[in-house]
Structure formats: C-alpha cells, structure tokens
C-alpha cells in the first residue's frame, strides 16, 4: 500500500492521510493508491499538511506498517524515549519499529 505522510504546518506533528483528513496515528492511514502524489500536492497547497511525501507500507492486522524504519520511527516516536511516543503506556511498542 501507499501512504502519504507529512508534518502539520503549525505544530510540526507527524501526520498520515486517512483518505479524508490527516491523523497523528498511522493505524488510521489509508492506502492512497495511484492518486497519492496528486493528493499530497493538493493538500500541501491547501496548507493542511507540510512537506508531504509518499511511502510504501504493508497492511497488517494492526494496521499499516511503513516499509522503512525511518517512517516507523516517525510513526511511533523516538525509540529511546518511550515516554514521548504515541504509546507511552506500552513498553513493547518500540519492537514494532525494529
């Protein structure tokens, strides 16, 4: 699957395209398919996202898993500060990255 990710313009938060909007949670990311680049351009022009780009991911039972470790770290947060990730209560969350 093909996901679109970028950062929120004002906050800098990592965001994912859900098909209709942007979410901080990669679990809610949708396959943007062949229109991914066009959507990214439109959304950036409307300032709903900053510096969007398209990545490859695989669909899993737990939701989309970005193909590259860099995007998995973006999706979760820094592996060395579990308290600052999106899953601070789940100490095993970091293993998803690796």
């Amino acid at each position: 699957m093909r996901l679109i990710t970028g950062n929120d313009l004002a906050t800098g938060d990592v965001v994912w395209w859900t098909g209709t909007d942007w979410s901080r949670h990669v679990e809610q990311a949708a396959d943007a398919g062949e229109r991914a680049e066009a959507i990214a351009r439109e959304e950036e022009a409307a300032r709903r996202v900053n510096v969007p780009y398209v990545i490859a991911a695989t669909a899993t039972a737990d939701g989309p898993r970005p193909a590259h470790i860099k995007d998995r770290i973006r999706a979760l947060g820094p592996t060395v500060r579990p308290d600052l990730t999106l899953k601070p209560a789940d100490p095993a969350a970091g293993s998803w990255v690796i």
């Binding site: 004002a10 800098g12 938060d13 990592v14 510096v51 470790i69 860099k70 947060g77 060395v80």
Partner: protein, 544 residues
C-alpha cells in the same frame, strides 16, 4: 562574559520581529515552504523526524546562569522538558511548534541569545576551548578573539551565502580541547617574542570527506588576524565549488589547488584587505577583552584541599575535575553521559541545577563542550564536595570524563531526518556493556564517537573508536573505525572492515578493548597502542 551593547541587542531584536512576520506569512499561506525554508533555517529552525527542531547558538560554548535558566525555561515551556547539547557546543530542542518559535526567540533575546547562523551556508557559531580563562596552559584567553570573530561574521554581507557552511575554532593552548584542526579554519593563539599572534590552519573537516586542516600561516600577529581571516574567506568564497554540494567545503578547495597555492592567493588577498583597515582599533579590543577579565578569585583559597574521605567523591575528583591555573580553584566537568542515558541530553530541572551551581559556586559561568558535557570553569576547591553532592542528587555526577562511556553520539535516526541508523541506542548498549566503573578506568582514556550518517555530527572519524551508521538495504548497519583523534595528536580513524548490526558492533568493541588490554605497554592509552601495533591485531581480534 561578553555583554551585548545596543547594536548587538537591536539586531537580535530586529531579527525576532522579522522572523515573527515570516512565520505569520507562512501560516497564512502567503509564502510557500520552498520560500520559507531558507528563512526558518537562518533562524535555526529545522524540520526533523517528529517536529520542528530549534538549534540555539551558545557562542563559543559560554553561558551564564541567567542564560542557562532560560534554556531550562524553553525546554519546560515550549518543548518536552529537555534539551540536547551538541558537538557544536550548542543546544537543540526536538519538539518545537512553528507557531511558538518567534516567542521562543523573543524570550532568548532577553538574555542575549539567538539561533542565528546555526544553519545555512554561513560562518557558524564559533567553537572554542571549554577551559578558556581557566586552563594553565593557555597563552591568552581565546574568548575575546572568538567574540570578535562572532561580531565580524554576524551578518557579514560577503559571507552570508558561502559555497557551504563554515566552521571556525579558536584555541590558545597546545592541548587541543576543541577539535580545532577538524574545522574549516582553526586558529591557535600563540606568542612569539612576547607578541600575541596565531597559527592559522585551513581546510579541516569531517563529513563525507574527512580532512585535517593544513597549516597555512605559521604566525600572523593579532593585529592582522581579522584581515587574514577575511582574506582566507574571500579566496574560498571566490573559488569554492558551488556547483557540487559534496565538493563545496573549503577542504576540497585546498585539496584541489593544494595548500601552497591557497596560501599564495590568501597572501595576495591579505595585502589588499589589510589596506581596508578592518582590524579592530585597540580600544575596541580592550573593551571586549575587559568583559572576559578573570573573576575575583579569593587568594585565601590557595591553601584549600579537598576532603577525599568519601571514596565516590574521590573517584569523581580524579576523573572529572581538572587543575585550574588559579591556586585553590578547579575546573569541574559535569558528565551528561550516565550509563544507559542519552548522550548530551539534560532535563529542564538538571539544566536549572547546573545554573544554580554556577551561580552559587562558579562565578556564574558555564561552558558547553564539544564532547556534549558541561563545565563549571571556576570552582573553589573547598566547594567541590558541595557541588558534587548537588550533582549526585540531580543524576549528574557520573565520573566518566574521557572514558569509554563518555560517548559522543549524534541524535541519529531517533530524531534526525538525514540519519541512516540510530546512534543513541548503540551508545546506551555500549555504556551498559562497559558499565563497571573500575573496568572503564582500567581501560583509561578512550574516546568513542558515534554518527548516524556520513555527515559526522558525532565526530566518528575523530574517535579513538568511531562508529558510523549506514543503511544496508533498509536495515541499520554500523561501520567500526579505529585510531582517530580530534585532539592535538589529531588523526583520522580507519575502517576495520565489514560492518555489524547493533549487537555485533558492541561485541566487536569488546574484542578491540580486550586486545588492547592484552598488548598495551605501560602508560599507553588505547590510541597509543593502536598507533604502535597498527590495525592488524585488532582486525584479527574482531574478525577472527
């Protein structure tokens, strides 16, 4: 400490106002990201993996407690309660909101701080010796010269768009504590026949193509130094490779035309520049120098001796405290490298503790080191125990300066958008493997440096042991280097051979240190043994 005059303050304040308007226009959609990016970078604001990152300049690594408290305040109010001290003697915040960035800069400006020239192809923050003004071996205080260079380079119209970024270090001792020869220009102040001047080195750097700076001028008098620097920059600005980002640093220019030709051109340019009269009048130099006058040391301190009865305190004294030139005083190194911690990170509360200690016991001075530690340069020996006790309470008393766990590590793939691999977890694993303090001390001085990519922010080429993170088909891989040094015995590390995964590189380092213990001769540091026996025995130990 240097204090801003009205000119310094007004240009920093004006810059905040300008940036506030640029941010407003970006948020309102009046300018695109392509238009905005160079503007935010000129104010130290990057977009990293998780958020915007703000890099705040700490000129030549020098701070007072008021500034240090402001750094804590920014961490607490605008970030997530911590900051990361960098190998450029600066501090970075990892979780900044764009819409709050102008407010942060406005707050920083109230304590004479900013984020100007912490990015872009300009002259970056000047580096210096963290022991400046305290070391017994310096011929002069390098800080007035670092400050002069800061003023000269700030918004210098000719040097705002250089071919590439440009880093300058100023030291004034034979012992190089600032990796001076790995800068684009390294300046070592020296005296000849009683006259103050400098030896000038040009063309050093790390990154993709590491090089050691060449000595370009054996001695230039202090009266001519600024003109000489201007000439060095002009020749680079004219001939530096703007066509190829990988060949744009001054080190490549020197490599291509050779140091002799570069020197010839600089001398030619220097003759012209000197006539322009840009060297500061004596009164201005005296004004700046006066701000770095030694603090009011107490002569009665001369007889002080530290009470070594507490063994933990004694270990810390031996490892982290260095001799001061003033009898009765000492230089305190605060390690930001607890075992299992994140090298260079400090919480807002810890930053406040260090500010309090500087104010109470250290003549209000702090320094950031390129090894990502903090220094209190002037502490009375009688106060060392109290300082240590407060550091213990704050989790800042790790007694590991220059030992294997005093690791330099860049943010790596946990934060940095350019990274190939994570540096910090590796630093943590190495720290844990060598956690036993006695084992570390037995290994002695061993500088271990980790970069998450070829840009070498973690100075891996200059590590006695260096590690470079690479991307091998989407997985993290680590190359091991041996034999580098950023000190006065400067050298570049050599790659041992094929790379490793994270656990593999920790094992390989242990094989290297075991081999060192086996073959070292009395008094040899790791790097001395490496230089004597060469790579082969270590390679055999690693790869079998």
């Amino acid at each position: 400490m240097y204090r801003y005059d009205e000119y310094d303050q007004s240009i920093v304040d004006a810059r905040v106002d300008e940036f506030r308007d640029q941010v407003r226009r970006r948020l309102a959609g009046e300018i695109t990201e392509d238009q905005f990016k160079p503007l935010r970078l000129m104010n130290g604001l990057y977009l990293q993996l998780h958020a915007y990152m703000l890099r705040v300049a700490v000129p030549y690594g020098t701070l007072d407690s008021r500034q240090m408290r402001m750094l804590a305040h920014v961490a607490r109010t605008y970030d997530r309660g911590y900051g990361h001290f960098t190998t450029r003697q600066n501090i970075q915040y990892n979780w900044i909101r764009l819409d709050q960035a102008p407010d942060i800069l406005a707050e920083l400006a109230t304590v004479e701080m900013h984020a100007i020239q912490t990015s872009g192809n300009c002259i970056r923050n000047i580096s210096s010796d963290q022991y400046a003004g305290a070391a017994a071996d310096e011929v002069a205080d390098p800080r007035p010269w670092a400050e002069l260079i800061r003023q000269w380079s700030t918004f210098h119209p000719e040097f705002t768009y250089l071919p590439r970024k440009f880093k300058i270090a100023v030291i004034a001792a034979e012992e190089d504590r600032a990796a001076m020869r790995l800068h684009d220009i390294g300046i070592r102040l020296t005296r000849r026949d009683g006259v103050l001047g400098a030896t000038v080195f040009v063309g050093g750097g790390m990154g993709r193509t590491p090089m050691i700076a060449h000595e370009i001028r054996d001695f230039v008098t202090a009266d001519d130094l600024m003109s000489y620097l201007e000439a060095c920059l002009r020749v680079y600005n004219r001939y530096g490779r703007r066509d190829n980002i990988y060949k744009a640093r001054i080190k490549i220019l020197l490599h291509e035309i050779g140091p002799d030709e570069y020197r010839r051109q600089v001398e030619e340019e220097f003759a012209k520049v000197k006539a322009l009269g840009i060297d500061p009048p004596a009164a201005e130099l005296a004004r700046i120098t006066a701000m770095f006058a030694p603090p009011a040391f107490d002569p009665a301190a001369a007889g002080d001796v530290a009470d070594r009865s507490d063994p933990d305190f004694a270990v810390w004294l031996d490892q982290n405290v260095r001799a001061h030139r003033q009898p009765g005083y000492a230089i305190v190194n605060i390690s930001l490298k607890p075992v299992g911690g994140i090298p260079g990170d400090a919480s807002a509360d810890q930053i406040d503790v260090m500010a309090d200690l500087a104010q109470r016991y250290g003549f209000d001075e702090l320094r950031v080191t390129h090894a990502q530690n903090i220094v209190l340069p002037h502490v009375r020996i009688a106060d060392l125990k109290a300082v240590w006790s407060a550091l213990v309470d704050a989790g800042l008393a790790e007694a590991n300066l220059d030992l294997i766990s005093d690791i330099i590590a860049c943010p790596g793939l946990d934060y940095c958008s350019l990274a190939n691999a994570r540096s910090i977890p590796l630093a943590q694993k190495i720290g844990e493997r060598f956690a036993d303090p006695a084992r570390q001390r037995d290994l002695g001085e061993l500088k271990l440096k980790i970069s998450g990519c070829i840009n070498a922010c973690g100075h891996h080429h200059a590590g006695h042991i260096g590690i470079l993170g690479v991307d091998r088909k989407g997985t993290e891989n680590f190359q091991l280097l041996l034999g580098g040094s950023g000190a006065e015995d400067v050298s570049l590390g050599r790659i041992t051979g094929p790379g490793f995964d994270e656990d593999g590189v920790v094992d390989a380092i242990e094989r290297v240190t075991d081999k060192y213990l086996e073959v070292r001769e009395t008094g040899e540091r790791f790097v001395d043994t490496y230089r004597r026996v060469g790579m082969t025995p270590f390679k055999e130990a690693i790869y079998g």
